[in-house]
Structures are given as structure tokens and as C-alpha cells.
Assembly symmetry: C2
Homo-oligomer: 144 residues x 2
DNA sequence: CGGTATCCTTGGAGATACTG
DNA sequence: CAGTATCTCCAAGGATACCG
């Protein structure tokens, strides 16, 4: 038995992994996680979710100010895709000048919670990863 | 007070989000989560972690067989990057023909657990997202 | 077997200009 | 203000051929 066998919340890791790896369509290689990453794993989606989660409700240009490096185009594109997936709601006020407000839907908020779990992992293990990289560099140099 | 204010494990969502958004270097816009996605958010990293987690230990070509669509090049490249970050260990046996075995490090296993949490979210909310997309399509057609 | 090295294609994303 | 519409460019990644 060389396999991982951690018990977690009553269900074996084994089963959980199998569930995640399960393919939607035969031969597609597309498991749930893969799908997931295709939609939210891009450069900006998560940042938008975090900022909306933090502020609660933001207008287009407010969001743009907070995510300094994002281009107007990518903000629009990413917001549309998040809206499409039901994570973000978009409310247009028929005023002049126009006003548009974005906020997380309940689904978006549930993703937000998940993201913070991830963020914590990243924070906790950042040092470990940095150290691993250093070691790797060393070993590479040693070979030459 | 229009901000989200969910309590979770004793710490307010507020604080957690702030922590995740915290920038490493001033003005870089690079928070921990962003860093994280840059390294593991690509097309193949997570799949490799899942498969290694499931099998425990795999040789190069075994891994390639399981992830059908991956090219040899990308398998090599991704494995190197995972090795660099200390998530995967690589063991070379000085035999002929050569044998190389990959498996998760403890750090890799901790990431694996996190991934399954994500996978579960994806599975649980897949329907909801599909439905949201349909609704969005409808609304778009209605406009035209 | 387990890779490198090289070439080539594609689509993700920035810059810029225009609009309801 | 909050977007579209183009043009453009670069690098992620596939195909192929070779190597220890």
C-alpha cells in the first residue's frame, strides 16, 4: 500500500480524489476541477471576487482603481464572464451620467469563502515554497 | 454598512479577505493569492497533483498515460516547476533503461487536500453555474 | 525510458480610439 | 461613466526530431 490514505472529515482522501478526477464526458479529460480552473483560474477573476467581497458593492471605475494594473478591456471581459457564471450581479441605474454597480451573488460569496481558505494556504506556505526554490537552485548549480 | 460580514471559524470574513489581498511588495498588486495562481493555476499543475495524490507514486510515462491530452513537453515543464516549488519529489534510479519516479512531498499533499475541497465546491455548484449561464443567454437574446 | 532542443501556431491580453 | 471595437504583440503550449 503505497497510496495516500489520509482520513479527513470522515471520508477517505482516496474517494475524494476519485470524485474530483471523475470525467464529465468520456475521454474529454475534463474533470470538475479542470473546468473550474478554466473559468476562474485566469489572471483577474479571483482578484475581482476578492475586491467585491471586501467592498460589498463597487462601480466600474472604483473597481478599476483598486485593481491598478488591469486594463479597461480585461475588467469588462472578466466581469462579463463572472456575471455569466452567476457569481457577480450587475445593476444599471438609468441616470446620466450612467451608474453601474457590481456585487457578489450568494454563489459568488460562497466562492469568496473558498478563496480565503486558499489565500491562507498561500500565506502559510509561502516561506516553505521560497525555501524549496532556493534549494532547487543550489542543486542545479551544483550539477554544472 | 453594505459590506459582507460573515463570521467564520471565529475570524470575520473581513479580516481574512484583507489578509489575502495584502500586497507583498508595495504597488506590485501581487497578493498571495495572485502569486498562487501564477504558479498552480495553469492548465496542468493541478491535474498532476491530483493524479500523483491518487496513485501515490508514478513514473513519467505512467503519468502521461493518465493525463491523455498532455504533451511530453508540458509534462516535463510542469513537473519541473512543481519540483522547484517543493510540491513534487523526483527520484532517479541509475538503471538501464532509466526509471524516474515522481510523488508528492508533504507540502504537495497539503495542497492536494485543498484541491479536493475545491473539487467539491466545483461539483456542488456545477448545476447552479450551468443554470446561470442559460439565464444569461436568455437575457442576451431578449435584448436583440 | 525519459527526457532536450527547436520550430511554429494561436489566443490572451495590452494600447488606443471611438460611443450611448 | 461605462463601456465597445480594432489592431497588435508576445509567450504559452503543441508538433516534431533528436539524445544519454
Amino acid at each position: 500500500m503505497e497510496r495516500t490514505n489520509i482520513e479527513y472529515q470522515g471520508v477517505s482522501m482516496e474517494k475524494k480524489i476519485e470524485k474530483v478526477l471523475e470525467e464529465k464526458e468520456e475521454g474529454s479529460g475534463a474533470c470538475a476541477l479542470h473546468e473550474f480552473l478554466n473559468h476562474f483560474g485566469d489572471k483577474w477573476s479571483m482578484l475581482i471576487v476578492l475586491h467585491l467581497g471586501h467592498a460589498g458593492k463597487l462601480r466600474f471605475n472604483e473597481l478599476k482603481k483598486r485593481i491598478q494594473l488591469i486594463s479597461q478591456r480585461m475588467l469588462t471581459v472578466t466581469l462579463r464572464s463572472l456575471e455569466m457564471d452567476g457569481l457577480v450581479s450587475r445593476k444599471v441605474y438609468a441616470e446620466i451620467p450612467p451608474r453601474v454597480e457590481y456585487q457578489l451573488t450568494p454563489l459568488g460569496k460562497s466562492l469568496l469563502e473558498l478563496m480565503t481558505v486558499f489565500g491562507e494556504w498561500a500565506n502559510q506556505h509561502a516561506d516553505e515554497i521560497m525555501e524549496a526554490r532556493k534549494q532547487f537552485q543550489k542543486r542545479q548549480k551544483a550539477k554544472k
